[in-house]
């Protein structure tokens, strides 16, 4: 029984063309997904549609029986769907602690906020060390951890991470991955867009390959990278067949 059902969604920006072109996808509870695909495939757009930041032109997004397609972002968040965008989207002049508290903006119970804050600090000790520092002054990796930590403050059911390791050194990226691993083990449903496809797929139960605004193919994450269609997707038709021009 999927918790998130995306059916036939088309979406685009302003008066621009459709970026998602009738995309359908099902996400099951407590499983983890890695979305890969070349630039321009519509990966980030898909996340924005789910998060309510972009309304689909056609199709529907249903989360646990409720339609999200016309909801405001804060209403989507309240259902337990949380989005960590690619550009981290922190509040640069707020301290780490304040950023985390902002993450629980919709949580009215103060003691609950405190509890979760402690849990995030435990999971990301570096954030607790830097609690008083402005978020804008953190390193790239720390900012990413803060973005993830902030997402946890709402205690999400479904967590969407858009390229969490973008621009990070391999070692730092490794840390981020192990933290995602931890989130998984906590029972969260995680959907991740990851450039480091190999690592991302290792982490995930299920791989989804997007191209040109639709799901090109999906399957258990092992073996996806060996699929010859992958090479073609990233390096052109000639590359997959081994022929040259």
């Amino acid at each position: 029984m999927p918790i998130l059902e995306i059916t036939d969604v088309s979406a685009g920006y302003g008066s621009g063309p459709d970026i998602l072109r009738g995309l359908s996808l099902e996400v099951e509870e407590a499983k983890s997904y890695c979305i890969i695909g070349p630039n321009g495939a519509g990966k980030s757009t898909l996340f924005k549609v789910i998060a309510g930041l972009l309304h689909p032109r056609t199709g529907n997004v249903v989360f646990r029986g409720e339609s999200l397609a016309r909801r405001r972002p804060d209403q989507v968040l309240a259902t337990g769907v949380c989005f960590v965008p690619q550009d981290q989207a922190l509040f640069p002049e707020m301290s780490v602690r304040e950023n985390l508290i902002m993450g629980a903006y919709l949580v009215k119970d103060r003691s609950l906020v405190k509890e979760r804050l402690a849990r995030v600090y435990e999971m990301f000790p570096i954030l607790s060390e830097r609690a008083g520092q402005d978020a804008g002054k953190l390193s790239g990796g720390q900012q990413q951890m803060l973005a993830m930590g902030r997402a946890l403050m709402i205690d999400p059911i479904l967590l969407m991470l858009d390229e969490p390791t973008l621009g990070l050194a391999p070692q730092i990226a490794q840390q981020i991955f192990s933290q995602v691993e931890q989130l998984k083990s906590m029972g969260l449903t995680v959907v991740i867009i990851e450039q480091n496809a190999q690592r991302g797929l290792e982490l995930a139960d299920w791989g989804v390959v997007l191209d040109l605004g639709i799901v090109r193919f999906e399957g258990p994450s092992e073996g996806i990278l060996e699929d010859p269609r992958i090479r073609e997707l990233y390096l052109g038709k000639a590359a997959s067949t081994g022929e040259t021009r």
């Binding site: 621009g16 063309p17 970026i19 321009g40």
Partner: protein
Amino acid sequence: MIEDRAAVGPEPSDPEPEQQEAQRPPGPARYRWYVLAAVVVALFALPLFRPMISSYNYVLTLGALILMWVAMSSSWNILGGFAGYISLGHSVFMGVGGYVAGVLLYYHGISPFLTAPLGGLAAVALGFLAGFITLRTRGPAFIISTIALLFMFLLMTDNFEYLGGAAGLPLPALPLSQEWLRVPFYYAMLLIALGAIWTAYRVAHSKFGMGLRAIAEDEVKAEVAGVPTRLYKISAFAISAFWVGVAGAIYGYSIAFVRPTVFFTIAISAQMVLMAIIGGKGTVAGPVVGAVLIYAINELSLVAFGATEFNIVIQGTMLVAVLLFFPLGIVGTLRKMNRLPAFLNWD
């Protein structure tokens, strides 16, 4: 990240928008020139019909003022309409023109009818200088700096003895009998208005004007396309100052004094902005239509209500209403609806 904000996949369908044929759009109907020529001839001939006009001086004064506003809002439009840089302190140039001519008359006895172009050039010089500094910013900060420029000049003229301080300089009247006194001012303003419209028309129909419109739409794109944006912006500022300065010179003479509060008040700048926006900023005809209309409304409400405050309320309300409902102004909106009379299509 910087890249791929709007990464896009191929488009399955690329609907061809509905289009007319590839010809050049039909040229503007010819009769518009007859209409315009007739209007200009009528304006030149107006003072000749003295016996037929009951309140001759009132009509000429009114005519001169409307023409002055036509000139000033048309000039404002070159910077604010074409280039998209809103100046809320444009009357500073009127004051510069007024004071240059006023000083030359008061201290040296040279008639403003001769020195008005000098007033305009002084305004141009200030335009260059101010543009050089204020055009380093864009948007709100630029607008604010134009207001500050205006108040700087108010303060300075208020405090310079040479310029007569807050009381200003009284100017000797034109040595003419009362009955002919308004005629030279009327003709001067008519020439100024025609000059300003011509300038706006030339700018609109030049590479320069096209560059300004590109700047208004997307400055970075314009620059990369090859438009020297900084030079063009500063030039637009300076050019848009010229006729305002000339008009100021004649206006000071016509009221027989120059005084800081006559020129350096935001109300006068506001008027220019209002006229251009209501008429349609960025079009050549818009400011002309706006100036005539607003001035007519002002006069009517003065006659009807007598209170200037009420006038101001109407102006503010009109500005807000036009911005919210017809941001393109009268001419712009009519054109969009394809309802613009041919004789007003000057672009």
